[in-house]
Symmetry: C2
Subunit: 293 residues, 2 copies
């Protein structure tokens, strides 16, 4: 755990657009104040089943599992995450363009957007590991050279999220502060940190204060529920001893006005599949299953 | 994880008494079917504050922390549990006699009862570890020589239990099956298993079936909430990365008609503070703070 975190107020906007569509004024105000928005059943069960079927094919492919985009559990057997899922799978490539996602993100960020990172997370039942509190922006700024807080993550539940199976937890309002964690980033830190975050984590006192102010909200709900959250919100998840697996598709959209520069930590950039430098705009489509554009 | 668990139907009764007081007929039916009962706010906030104050004194006592009754987190610093709390603390000694607890247990077990084990658990915020699924009776039978399923645990929350801080989870109805776990019990297994259960855990398939049948219930609620649960119910808890600590007082009441014999695993009995062979009956008192008897 870091012991010398610094905390400063956010200077970047949270909402970059003045348009009220597709999100309403109250949606936007909620996102501005809390740093996240949850939409239950944004995708239908049939749509989720298609996405799961696609995933099953991929995880059964033993040769693909050897590629660096496939992150295995510490046991070395089960797939924990697949990065670059929007490139590895055509279906997931269309999913991130689906208007139900892309237009919300474009509205909040007030510009065209591109995919900074994509992945699916497959948190197995019984021994899913915890993921400690962190702000993504801290890493994306330092290790990837993302200049400003103008990126949004969208996580789509592929399995029901219960209180029992380690759902994503966010601290509402925490996106309005920036916590700079202590400790020099070691070379190739990402290889370890994708499995378990151990260094550069925020101070307990800072987290306690944030939770005193904003509480904790967990993204529970049926499969098909989507949560959009600001790049700087403090989030994490507990482990999962329940038999219920927890899978989600995860896309990070960055504004094309916020393209990556050289990493601010002075190290080499992380691989393309973790922090893309392909800044091609996402072109919205009506529906990822019906529209094959 | 065990790979050769066996599952058999329970032959012992769950409810040993035909009296309907203090528990109602519907309370008893619920316990019989589900294996647990939760009473919110069984103890007042003032009462809980007294119990916490007593605990704080104990955990600050560095010389006491060296005694075997004090179990420390793997870090070696924070106190995870204090065993024999009813002997170490006069207040906790009276707590287990309080009629709100003792008479419920005496009713279900249909006899006088004694304390088989007592402890307080102090699950700290931020890095509280998980505790994998287990039935207590499996261990108490094998390692302690408890002949039959005629014991009940009572856990009293000393802190609020949220979905975020790793509350006790039970699988309703799982007390009606007995799962015998594979693996020979090593000598002095308890020293490790008090920290983290790694061997002799039930098969995933058995757990999946149990959860399919009964679901999972977590004991959430304000401080002062009490859960009574059968010695054979499958239970566990997730880790806790939230800042919220989770503390509880935990008493195992065994029927005086179910006194320990030689351990069935063939090893030496575990220490007195883990499995008592002092079979003195618990004499109910009105109130643990007001009645100093």
């Amino acid at each position: 755990m870091g012991t010398k975190s610094k905390i400063i107020s956010r200077t970047d906007p949270v909402i970059y657009s003045e348009s009220f569509s597709p999100l309403s004024e109250s949606n936007l105000k909620f996102f501005k104040d809390n740093g996240y928005l949850i939409f239950e059943n944004l995708f239908s069960r049939d749509e989720i089943n298609s996405l799961l079927g696609e995933l099953k094919k991929l995880t059964l492919n033993e040769s693909k599992k050897k590629s660096p985009q496939f992150i295995l559990e510490e046991t070395g057997k089960e797939v924990r995450s697949i990065f670059d899922i929007h490139k590895i799978s055509e279906m997931y490539g269309r999913l991130c363009k689906d208007k139900r996602i892309s237009n919300i993100v474009r509205q909040i960020l007030g510009s065209e957007v591109y995919i900074h990172q994509s992945r699916v997370n497959l948190k197995p039942g019984f021994d899913g590991k915890e993921f400690y509190w962190h702000s993504d922006f801290e890493t994306w700024h330092s290790e990837d050279g993302m200049p400003n807080m103008r990126a949004i993550s969208c996580s789509i539940s592929l399995t029901p999220n219960y209180e029992f199976n380690g759902p994503l937890m966010v601290i509402p309002g925490s996106h309005k502060k920036f916590v700079s964690c202590s400790g020099k980033t070691p070379e190739n830190h990402y290889r370890q940190s994708l499995k378990r975050q151990e260094i550069g984590t925020p101070d307990k006192t800072i987290l306690e204060n944030m939770v005193n102010d904003g509480g904790i909200v967990s993204a529970k709900g049926d499969e098909g529920t989507a949560i959009f959250f600001d790049c700087n919100i403090m989030h994490g998840s507990n482990g999962n001893i329940s038999p219920y697996p927890r899978s989600n598709a995860f896309f990070v959209f960055n504004s094309v006005k916020n393209k990556l520069v050289e990493p601010f930590c002075g190290l080499n950039p992380r691989p393309e599949y973790i922090a893309s430098r392909n800044f091609q705009s996402v072109e919205p489509i009506e529906n990822f299953l019906k529209d094959s554009k």
